[in-house]
Point group: C2
């Protein structure tokens, strides 16, 4: 900022700190805030503080919630014999959008990554293990991402769970629906080939 | 949002209302806000309200400022014989970044656009005319954008000013620096050809 309007410069800087927002976008967002009514701007501010204050981890699955239990854990209609283990709340949202999964979740809030100094104690595995009563839980679906870290995390957790005798599954690898084979990388193609099914 | 965490859904919605932010980006921004410390989130909220409360139009040039006069109008080092007329504060910032212009500005906050019901009374022309004392102002640079609306606005204002006998100029049209001719449109090329200079 060259013209030194301090509150405005601070607003731009604040937006610039958000992920994926460069200087030009931050400027555009800041101008948008100025074009709001006072009421709207105060509301925006309140929503930020509110969300921050009220949202915390679900006591059971560690997903984000504003109550003690998240809406999945507290729902009577979910199948309690399946737990889908994901890296973060965004993954829960993505799976919920499919409207196909009716089990529970466990949100790890990360993946093991020695490179970034994230080890098993930094993710919520210690909250997952006590949930795994073999009389109630029949399947744990490892739905961590298919990155090196996600794979390592899935392997590590599945080794912890194995002794309990619960079935452990991993999401299928393959070519994304609607994708052109040309753009699929070799590893994905190898996995898709290996996992091929009879028609 | 499928999982019904209301304060979080509201935060996502709020971000989604910002220009150029789609649902996925809004989600990412909302998660970023949650990852802030309480202090940071409150600060973010405060900056929004602050900017909104404190910023208003400069009494003289209508640029945005948090004092009576903006930093350009109040600077003793600016050349008061030149006024550069722009559509909005972003344009002031863009020109200031060049560090080449030392005159004053006038911010119209829009351009005449019959299509959008914006006429001459919706922009700050009525604040521009009283500034044009021919003893003091020697040049008015029309730096509105080169869209149909910007051109119409420049023409309209220049006709209003003409009787005062002040020199009126328009930014040069031409091929942007660093651009490949191949990608320039015909109108730009015609203008660039017309405005060619001897080397």
């Amino acid at each position: 900022m060259d013209t030194k309007v301090a509150p405005f410069a601070r607003l731009i800087e604040q937006f610039e700190r958000l992920p994926g927002i460069g200087h030009k976008s931050a400027q555009r967002l800041a101008f948008h805030v100025l074009s709001m009514t006072n009421q709207q701007a105060e509301n925006f501010a309140k929503i930020i503080v509110d969300a921050h204050e009220k949202i915390h981890k679900c006591e059971v699955c560690c997903d984000l919630t504003d109550s003690d239990l998240c809406c999945v854990c507290s729902s009577p209609s979910r199948d309690r014999s399946k737990i889908c283990v994901v890296e973060d709340s965004r993954d829960v949202m993505a799976i919920e959008r499919t409207h196909e999964y009716d089990g529970l979740y466990h949100v790890l809030h990360g993946a093991i990554s020695p490179m970034n100094n994230i080890d098993i104690n930094d993710i919520t595995v210690n909250k997952l293990i006590p949930r795994l009563d073999p009389d109630k839980v029949k399947e744990v679906i490892m739905a961590t991402s298919t990155t090196v870290e996600g794979e390592a995390t899935a392997m590590y957790i599945s080794r912890l769970i194995k002794p309990l005798g619960i079935k452990i599954t991993r999401l299928a690898y393959g070519v994304p629906v609607g994708a052109n084979l040309e753009y699929a990388d070799e590893y994905t193609l190898v996995k898709a080939m290996e996992g091929r099914k009879e028609l």
